[in-house]
Amino acid sequence: MTTTWNKKLGSAAFCAAIAGALFASAPSVAQSQEIVLGAIVPSSGPFAEWGRANTATLQMVEKQVNAAGGINGAKLRIVILDDAAKPAQATNNLRKLAGDDKVLAVAGPLTSSAAEVTFPVANEMKVVSTSQASSKPGVAKNNRPWAFRNTIDEGVLGRTTVPYFKKAFNVKTVAIIYDAKDATAATVGSKIMPALMKENDIKVLNENDPLSFNTGDLDVSAQITKLKSLNPDGVVVSADYSQGVTVIREMKRQGLIKPVVGSTQLISSAILKAAPEIAIVAPATFYATMKGEKAEKFVKELQPILRSTSGLPKDIEPSMYDANIYEIVSMYIDAIKKAGVTGKPESLEADRVKIRDYMAKLVGFPGLGGPIGFNDDGDAIKAFYIVQGQNGAWESKVRGCSTAPGHPGC
């Protein structure tokens, strides 16, 4: 009996071994692995709202992709790390994502300050890093070939924004105020806007006496009193929207009801509540009320998720940065599908190169607001809109493109 039992056991073990070998080789490689992407978002700190909304957006993408069968049969996993908008933390996050989590590519970081120090690390570790919000000139350009930004240089956007502002409000003079501690705001306020105003024959009344404040300042009454005494036709507010709210509310409090122009940093629903009677002009590549099948579907899917996410306002709308990070991950997924990315641990370096090359050559990727590509500087070639906010809503006034007319990217 023992012998028979041993024989049966032996036969069963053999069959199991054969079956195991067969099953191990039968399915595709992809089915037995997962595709890992990384993301760096500021889920805490002053831009926590953006970071948390970005996180919800990425989780939505992950869920949708996996529900549809994954990427070439492999499950998508996005490792999301919080940098609290701190450059040093963003750098550590990138090292962890590239070194420990072995991600194929990284979406983020969000701010220019973080991107400036994180992009060199992306080059060092040879992993693609694409920022969803950085727009300070030259940040990706200085860190080729692994750094990309799904944003447009503020200098390029300003060339369409300022002429519209001048024409719409008959502006002949402006006064400029900017956040001196914010990398993008300081560059836009002290360099880009003064030069653009000059190009458009608009006099900057405080050209030799720049007015600034610091991130976190609650009181800007002295600056606004000074601005008011200059009696400009319009005001340039170069700050992120949360600081912009402080400036615009103080303008309202002191009775300085003049049109405001700024950069993409101003785009938010919060700033529209600050002083509905003050017109705000700024460029955007996406806004929640944008028309178009892709954009409307994105808003319809994401908005209820954002509104049910704890720590986010109940009336929140998807922002331009949610759209940008959604597009970044969609591009990475497309790269994995089309560029022959295997996802195998031993091919990690080669896979990362394939994604980099796909991004560098990308033309006409179907984004939410139109086709997307990248220029030689690593910045997005895409359509943008000059929007005017007044009485609580953004309205598109001009459509532009970040490259020469006729380019397939637009």
Partner: protein
Amino acid sequence: MLLQQLVNGLTLGAVYTLIALSFSLVMGILGVLNLAIAELFMLGAYFGFTAILAQLPLPVALVAAMLGSALVAIVIQKIAYEPLRDAPIVTPMLSTLGFSIILQNVATNVWGSDPLQLTDEVLPGRLTLGSVSISTMQLLVMGATVALVAILAFVVQKTPAGRALRAVAENRDVARLLGVSAARVTLLAFVLSGVMAGAAGVLIGMHYAVITPYMGVDIGLKAIAVMVIGGTTRIWGALVAGPLIGIAEVMTVAYGGSQVRDFVVYGLMILILLLRPQGILGGSRSEQGQRV
């Protein structure tokens, strides 16, 4: 513009005065810099906003903010200070710093990081005198600051609780030998600092009509400068130093350059520390150990 800037400076100075007094109360009695006071100010603003958004009247919002911040101050005293009372002086200071970061995170999670705004002015109305315009809320901020400083001075100088505070500030051990409960006095100092910070938060929140979880950070640092310049040994010192710093700050922005604003404020603080470490109204150098 000069007169309007003076009004701006006085309003800003009123803010600094109230927060500086909160710092001064704990620093004066215990010799500890409670770095979480800046967040008590921020929380006061949020408590006040929550009350106003719930359609409650301003006096109720003010009381709610003062009570709410006082309660949080008690928690700070029990968790971040009391267990570390006998540790080196830097230990409770670091503990309160940790608490301040936790409170910022709590506020971010409860109210979000987006600026919280009021749609309408709580106290509409504006007084115009020539080229100078003063809002009703600005008048309230300045008036309430003077009133709160006077009330606090009265409490400290004329009441048994105030005498106990001064006795502990003078010499904790001798005060205990004379029957003063040092533990109760410590708690009272924390509660009063919470009340002052809460009042400052709600008044300033209503004035600017926009608040964020990080609003206390910079203002808190300036208030510490005001406390140093005014001197921690005299309550009225903050009432002098607050407007002084407020006016210096706005005048620097108006006639100097906004880039050198902080240089002037903190430069003045360093100058005072070098030339008169006891502060403008801090009495003689021999009084340096005495507080309040």
